[in-house]
Symmetry: C2
Subunit: 542 residues, 2 copies
């Protein structure tokens, strides 16, 4: 039942992020994006990458054209998606089928109707002609030297409505030379027990090699995929991060993680599982969606702990509360700072950041109180480790200051010509000097950032390497429109490492200022500079 294998001929990990995944609301990939995603998928070690529908979608035609020169795949082969030929013609004469051949993809995945009602209502042809369309198209593509997989659309509903016809489609594809017949839960309405039963029956009655394609409309796409494998399927179609139409497809990383770590199957090349978290996040970045924090295995919250109850046990043995060692999927255990956290959590978080707090109960108490107070005001230290470390440092060593602000001002304006202009001025004191600097930018925060850099760069040349990577704005009281408290998260890099800081204010610009001030202060500390120190209350050095 559970093949142990690294041989892609005995088990297929088939990714359709670039075809079905790109149907997700909010995703809109350029050809360059698609090439980049394909490289990440190949790097992850999937066997098959479905690139799109050449001929039907112009940018997919272009993708296959550019892929010939620009993609050097190591683990995967490219798959062109297409349809069985039109009714009333021949596959050889159908331009859509010809476009699949023209793509030069070594594998073609053909969608075929297998639900009788869909044949008559959507395709508007006869049941027999549909079978002939499957046979003819598969045979034609095989004769041209292509490997052919057939996606039986709406298979499970079709099988329940008319099992004999659904099976005849599987048989037609198999007999005509299709290497794999993929049973698709196209509308995503199945549950695992039903999937396992039907896959088992189809496997027994046709002898065809079977695959599974599951949509997630019952929240069971991953489980349905595993159930199909239990039923005899040896080909799984998935998408990175579960992207797909409506609620999405079976999540590649969850399916592969479960097969390898829970079912002891080897479906990826050796060592690739450890790349999972990195590749999940990289693909999210390319498709321009924030990586979902709560995804199994790869989410930043997947191995995060905040309950005081758990935190104290985790100090004893991390394995007590983790289903796997997060390093196996390239993720990491993380302690969350939050007002639910007890002293144990703060100590663990300090240890993670390199501070041993176990001997200083007073300091831990002060930090716990500060965190509670500031989180109540809207700060979040869970997402801003650098601001938390500054808070910890403030409480132990006194506030780190590389400059003292006198004032800032940002102006945005749009005149009759329709071109907005933005200008910001900062006035500050650093190393005994008073500095006034003005920056322009394409927005008020950008102008403020430039003014601050300009003011400080001469005195602290290390600033030149800092770059703002990401800038996020969140309104904390969504019901009050532009009236709400604003939280800004800023991610900064010096080219070697990245750090996150937070600011909270009623005003997006004031909140941004706080996050920028923390970002530059933290960066200068990391660069080894010594700040002017203002002792606050804590007498204890750490």
């Amino acid at each position: 039942m559970h093949p142990t294998t690294t041989d892609p001929s005995s088990f297929h990990v088939f990714d359709t992020t670039l075809r079905d995944g790109s149907q997700r609301e909010g995703i809109n990939l350029t050809v360059s994006d698609k090439l980049t995603v394909a490289r990440h998928l190949d790097d992850f070690g999937v066997g098959f990458i479905e690139g799109g529908w050449p001929g039907a979608v112009p940018r997919d035609t272009e993708f296959f054209r550019r892929a010939k020169d620009e993609l050097r795949l190591v683990n995967a082969v490219l798959v062109a998606f297409g349809s069985t030929r039109k009714a009333g013609t021949t596959a050889a004469a159908d331009p859509q089928v010809q476009a699949l051949l023209d793509s030069d993809a070594p594998v073609v995945c053909l969608v075929a109707k297998s639900h009788d009602k869909h044949v008559s209502l959507a395709l508007r042809t006869t049941l027999d002609e549909n079978l002939e369309m499957v046979r003819d198209t598969v045979a034609h593509l095989c004769a041209q030297g292509r490997r052919v997989f057939v996606d039986c659309e709406h298979f499970f509903d079709g099988y329940r409505a008319n099992p004999r016809y659904a099976l005849s489609v599987v048989a037609a594809a198999h007999d005509a030379g299709a290497e794999v017949v993929v049973l698709c839960d196209t509308n995503g309405g199945m549950l695992p027990t039903g999937v396992r039963e039907i896959v088992t029956e189809v496997h027994a009655s046709t002898g065809a090699r079977l695959g599974i394609h599951a949509q997630d409309d019952t929240g069971c796409a991953v489980a349905n995929t595993l159930a199909a494998v239990e039923g005899g399927a040896t080909h799984v179609q998935c998408t990175a991060n579960g992207y797909g139409e409506r609620v999405g497809n079976a999540n590649l990383f969850q399916v592969v993680g479960n097969l390898e770590l829970k079912q002891d199957m080897r479906v990826l090349p050796e060592g690739k599982l450890r790349e999972m978290t990195r590749i999940s996040h990289a693909i999210a970045e390319v498709v321009n969606l924030a990586p979902s924090t709560h995804l199994p295995y790869v989410g930043v919250s997947a191995f995060a702990h905040k309950a005081g109850l758990h935190a104290s046990a985790i100090k004893v043995d991390p394995d007590l509360y983790q289903h796997i060692d997060p390093a196996r999927v390239g993720n990491d255990m993380r302690m969350l700072i939050s007002d639910m956290a007890g002293r144990a959590s703060i100590e663990l978080k300090g240890r993670e950041l390199g501070y041993d707090l176990s001997d200083d109960k007073d300091l831990v108490g002060r930090v716990v109180n500060q965190v509670k107070e500031r989180e109540a005001a809207g700060y979040t230290y869970e997402a801003a480790d650098a601001s938390f470390e500054l808070l910890l440092r403030d409480e132990s060593l006194g506030r780190a200051r590389f400059f003292a602000l006198e004032s800032w001002r940002a102006i945005s304006e749009q005149r009759g010509d329709g071109v907005p202009v933005n200008e910001a001025t900062v006035k500050l004191h650093a190393k005994g000097e008073r500095i006034v600097a003005t920056g322009e930018g394409n927005g008020p925060v950008n102008a403020l950032d430039r003014a601050l850099r300009l003011a400080l760069e001469r005195i602290y040349p290390q600033l030149a390497t800092f770059e703002l990577m990401d800038y996020k704005v969140r309104l904390l009281e969504g019901r009050h429109g532009t009236d709400a408290i604003t939280r800004v998260l800023v991610e900064t890099t010096d080219g070697k490492q990245e750090w996150s800081t937070v600011g909270v204010a009623e005003n997006v610009i004031a909140a941004s200022w706080q996050a920028l001030e923390d970002a530059y202060t933290y960066g200068l500390l990391k660069a080894g500079l010594t700040p002017g120190v203002h002792h606050t209350e804590g007498p204890n050095g750490a």
Copy 2:
């Protein structure tokens, strides 16, 4: 195997959003929030609401205190969560146990260790004393007239490591009077087949009434819950929207939706399923997380279609591509506007908005082109129906204008006193007048909104009813920090309906201006006002 019931004594829908759900990273509930969530859950018809851990968490103590006066539950009863007594004492003498009684909750859910390793390493007591702690605490609470459920923590791992001991914990709880023994996959590492097997075995060997508590670390929490029900469990613990520690818990709405719609079980009072989408979104609002758009059943994308292939078939018969009628869960089919959309999608979207475009092929073509061009520039009409309707109206009737902008300017400033000030001025022409107005606000966009209102309210008094509900900012090129293109989405209401508009610019304030201009224009049109009309190119009226 599948009880058909509305009787909460034969099947328990047990919600733990307020206890386990609130462990999710980013959730931080006040007592008032908890009371509001409890009302929504009761309204949805769950049988049990676990409110927190009175005695251990001060705000949970307060929740149970206030609940006595302020909660009028119709369908649910409140459950206090707590732990078995400490080692080496008696339940009657343990203040933690007394606090559970003091909460006056009619049901207590006790967490108990059932994994031998956890007993020795985390609890640091003997296996026998742990059994005695279970017996003593259950018996004491039952003697005080409470119904008692017992959560066996880490049951599945424990059962695999030491089945005899794990079963002895179940038996101890059962024999001492626990009504339900809940098998918990605390670290979330299980898959459905294993859950079904173990639940079946435990059911057969102990005769106890069993429940299931599944975490989602393999992406299978919903399927694991269903598998447990197949194995004989008649009590399911879930959280609204799957909130919970790490990646979350079994999603209440998916579990209930699947049991009722796919398994033909009745687990909620009649008619409640249709409230699912509304209640899911309302709870997301209270816990201050954006409702996840891609959740099965309740997400705004759950019944959204964008592929041209599907759109044309959906015109024939929506049921061809939907696993259920979305009205059954209070959701709705939605056509997405996107540059992947063909003419069929635009026609369907027009129909959804009340425009019959089927006779005007030119108009549809122009709208498709406009949408493609503007989405390429960063606009998204999927999330901004009002801006799309304005675009449609522009192309058919000419641009709707209630005012013409001369200029705007926004200034944010922070001086030595640390208090930021914000001021905006707009200059515009409306109904033949030139108007200059200045607004102050707690941020630049808020100041701009107030200046625009002030300028227009005298001429268009209908504006007084408009209120900004939500304001979202997204950077479209996350890699470039404050340098990126900014997309702003604004949600506005007139007290009766809500509408969403979009603006895109390099500058957050300029983007906000566009979205505000669309929002006010759309609102005035909906209020029945006739704009000044500037015919652009289209000769065809709609």
